[in-house]
């Protein structure tokens, strides 16, 4: 008779298999993928501009794939760092999937790339469910978005391996309650590291690059409770 069909396995299995193949292929050639998620405007591109520039100064070969619904502006901004950059236009799709990433890397990504940063579509719901073959998943939130952002988007924050608070230069004006934000992150993702960053005053410069390099060197990375699903 008919068996029950496990959708989680069937739907996400396709993406997860593609992500796993990508992760294996890239790590075999020494490339580590970092997936960046946030709401639109949290500062993903601005942060990447800075970290890519620093990578260049330190002689670390880094590249970036940036996804947007429509424009190529982010790629133009990131290309100023001198790093190889490619724009993915998702044509309205609200998230990236592993096979889209794989398709874009094909005959573009320089063989020697150590770190590949992927700027996901600005959205904290849909991208959370899709593994892109990354070894480090980073979720950003700016101080203007409110302390309860992690509670409003628990799956995104719950699956983060690193959380970055951006625009801390505006923390006072926004009356950002850092302790409350930390408590909310802790509630949905106990033990995840939180880094404070501002591209205006230089706070946290190089932190993302350092964390990414540590992962590339094989250091253990945080496993969120939400990723430790029951058997």
């Amino acid at each position: 008779m008919c068996r029950a069909v496990d959708l989680q396995r069937a739907v996400l299995a396709k993406n997860e298999a593609a992500a796993q193949i990508l992760r294996t292929e890239l790590s075999a050639r020494g490339t580590t993928v970092v997936n960046l998620l946030s709401s639109p405007g949290s500062g993903k591109t601005a942060l990447l501009e800075r970290e890519l520039r620093l990578a260049g100064e330190r002689g670390v070969s880094a590249a970036a794939l940036t996804a947007d619904l429509a424009t190529e502006n982010d790629a133009r901004r990131l290309a100023r760092s001198g790093a190889p950059v490619k724009q993915v236009l998702t044509d309205g799709l609200c998230h990236l999937e592993a096979d889209m990433v794989a398709r874009h890397l094909h005959d573009w990504l320089p063989e020697s790339t150590r770190l590949l940063f992927v700027e996901n579509v600005g959205n904290l719901v849909c991208p959370a469910g899709y593994d892109l073959g990354e070894s480090l998943r980073v979720v950003l939130a700016s101080v203007t978005e409110g302390e309860d952002k992690p509670l409003k988007y628990p799956t995104a924050f719950g699956l983060a391996q690193l959380v970055i608070v951006t625009k801390t230069d505006m923390a006072e004006a926004a009356e950002f309650d850092e302790a409350a934000f930390r408590a909310h992150v802790q509630q949905v993702n106990p033990g995840v590291e939180i880094v404070l960053s501002s591209v205006r005053d230089g706070r946290g410069a190089g932190a993302l690059l350092d964390r990414a390099l540590a992962v590339a060197e094989g250091n253990r990375v945080h496993t969120p409770v939400m990723a430790r699903a029951g058997a």
Partner: protein
């Protein structure tokens, strides 16, 4: 709206099974959706209507069951409902949960085929233990 991608995947899978069984129609599809699966049930229902148009699944009822999130602390041997927003710190000792026991499900639980003779739905055996469930591609 990745609900559209999910709806298309549901329809694809049920269609594949329906074809392999020679089913003439689908009466209902029951989905289990975890509280923390990041799926909006209403959006999924809306997308499902669009996705099944013109397929053997057209007209099927989509039943969505929400699975509450639960977490476990090994130290206290406690399992609690995490609630929404979820609390993944143990209410007993304050330590991080050791695992999320449930809440991220996203699976087809049961499909009822429309019966060609009587026009009535025929129930399928849904309670197959998870480890015995097979990906759809392995269905014969």
């Amino acid at each position: 709206m990745h609900e559209m991608s999910l709806a298309v995947a549901v329809v694809d899978q049920v269609e594949t099974v329906a074809r392999s069984r020679g089913a003439v129609g689908v009466s209902s599809i029951e989905l289990e959706v975890g509280e923390l699966a990041g799926v909006v049930a209403d959006a999924l229902a809306f997308c499902f209507e669009l996705a099944c148009a013109g397929t053997v699944v057209e007209g099927a009822e989509l039943i969505t069951r929400t699975v509450p999130g639960t977490a476990r602390c090994a130290r206290c041997a406690e399992v609690w409902a995490v609630g929404m927003p979820p609390l993944l710190l143990c209410p007993g000792c304050g330590a991080a949960a050791d695992e999320l026991v449930s809440g991220r499900e996203l699976r087809i639980r049961e499909v009822r085929w429309a019966d060609p003779e009587s026009g009535e739905a025929r129930r399928t055996d849904a309670e197959v233990p998870r480890e015995h469930r097979q990906p759809i591609t392995e269905e014969s």
